[in-house]
Amino acid sequence: MTPNNAIGVRISDDALALACGADEVAAAFVAAGCTVERVSSWGMHWLEPLVEIDGEGFGPLEPSDVAAVLAGASAKAIGRIEDHPFIAKQQRFTFARAGKTQALSLDDYAAHGGWHGLAKARELGPEATIAQVTESGLRGRGGAGFPAGIKWTTVAKAAGTQKYIVCNADEGDSATFADRMVMEGDPFMLIEGMAIAALAVGAHRGYVYIRSEYPHAIAKMEAAVRACAQLVAPFELEVRVGAGAYVCGEETSLLNSLEGKRGEVRAKPPLPALEGLFGKPTVVNNVLTLAAVPWIMANGAAAYAQVGYGRSKGTMPIQLAGNIKHGGLFEVGFGVTLGELVMTVGGGTASGRPVRAVQVGGPLGAYHTPAEFHLPFDYETFAANDGLIGHAGLTVFDDTVDMSAQARFAMEFCAVESCGKCTPCRIGSTRGVELIDRIRAKGGRQPDRVEALPQMHNARKVERSLADEITLLEDLCETMKFGSLCALGGFTPYPVLSALRNFPEDFGADAAKEAAE
């Protein structure tokens, strides 16, 4: 029998693994005399804390399971991790190193293909680098899906010598954690991507704006930036920490925040590409966009563009979250259907009850029903079906969900997080909460004292029925959608209207129909 100290145990030190008790499990292995290496997470979250010994996986482990694992008699053995269906089905470009390397080891990074992209970009020069990114078809992974190559070209051609690269790591959407996993698991990849962007557009300074709810990601990124400063020079990079404002994930609001102002949205134009941070030409890209670049440079634009669906090229790190049996990170080429993701890969709900709704794209994304499971995961397809893929987070709900409560929450969230700059978002969201409350109470509404005044010529003088209230809600959503300055107010109608259209029974549709008859 091998002595325990010869056994190399690999356990993730990602925040999610820590939250599930990875430190305690690691300590138990150390106490048993094993050598423990803390690596990035494989992304199989239902198995965390996941332990890897000679390629074999065990999870989810508790400290009390350690003896059985070392004795070779653990009931929590899952076989070879790389052969696990959840991993084997993926096409991991951005997450190629996930689970395999130590986040802050420069040696690990270099040994697993790191810095090849930057070397290639240095060899090709700025113009050819931008051409590669353009040809790869890479689009903004933050949600807007704007072609990265076009944005970079705009910044490269903009006048001025002072330009910035800003990485949007303000991952505030519920159901998304891919940015966090990149920063905590493979921070040098993100830095390499930013260094390539800097070289391509002629920038010398960059900022990574990380939300304050991610203390582990902040610590790792700061350490990584210090460790590789020489390797990316003359590019200088700094980590900045957000302060709890969801809206700062919107690019112009993020720029204001970086400048030390209130995180209020700016009107566009001017585009940040021309007048961004401190009024200078600025590339603002999401973590996943920048993290995809080293792979594209190292392997060629054609290899990336070969994968995907329609105009959505390459792979997307999809995040399976909420009430799902096999939650985690699943990177795959665009085109996989929603049903495959939720049922085949995700295994349905964690509660074992039927799936009722899937919200795609975070708090501003639409609620879809199992009837839409045939939809391929692609920017255009979801847009054509009154939805969006956003940052590719999926939140699964079982049949106990009350969709009118979810619609109310969407409005409430918008009211809490609105920056206050534009009226449809600031006030519309509050009126939306009140309106949905009345709909949920199944009541209509009598004219109030102000509306009843004789000088209020345009105010309605008769009672509003439930059906009238629903029409009013749809009207309010139209106003917010087309009248708001940014996606917060503009996209809040997606969850509200999709809940209303796909689940009318939760909004008292039957009662409204009866009343009308």
Binding site: S174, E213, G263, D398
Partner: protein, 137 residues
């Protein structure tokens, strides 16, 4: 006051120094006092109103110190789908701990989740959450 000036001086040369200063002041004193707002405004050549506007905009900065220990409970959609609302409703009232709502800790596949300081906790049920709150009180 001396510590406050040190914090300001440490960041004064940076681009956009206000948020880093406010973070350090909040961490050092537990809040951003009127006195601190004055000193920061003076050092950065801003009006007090501008600094106050920034302090009041962000959830992380507080004008008054928080006397009780804080537990941040995620109540965003993914945690809702995993039952956080029932958990929050069933939480016994505790006057010694402040339960703050946070929207998303990025652990959306293993909720309900909470954060105390920088330590994160996942897969909470009534017993685990109760124990966390008790440990703080």
């Amino acid at each position: 006051m001396e510590r406050l000036n040190q914090i300001i001086a440490a960041h004064a040369g940076r681009e956009g120094p206000l948020l880093p200063i406010l973070h350090d002041v909040q961490a050092e004193y537990g809040h951003v006092s009127e006195e601190a707002v004055r000193a920061i405004a003076l050092a950065l050549n801003l009006s007090r109103a501008e600094v106050h506007g920034v302090v009041s905009f962000y959830h992380d900065f507080h004008a008054e110190p928080e006397a009780k220990p804080v537990l941040k409970l995620c109540r965003a959609e993914a945690c809702q789908a995993r039952g956080v609302e029932a958990l929050a409703a069933g939480l016994a009232e505790n006057h010694r701990v402040k339960i703050e709502t946070v929207y998303c800790l990025g652990l959306c596949s293993v909720g309900p989740n909470a954060m105390v300081g920088s330590k994160v906790h996942a897969r909470l049920d009534a017993a685990k959450l109760g124990a966390l709150v008790e440990a703080l009180a």
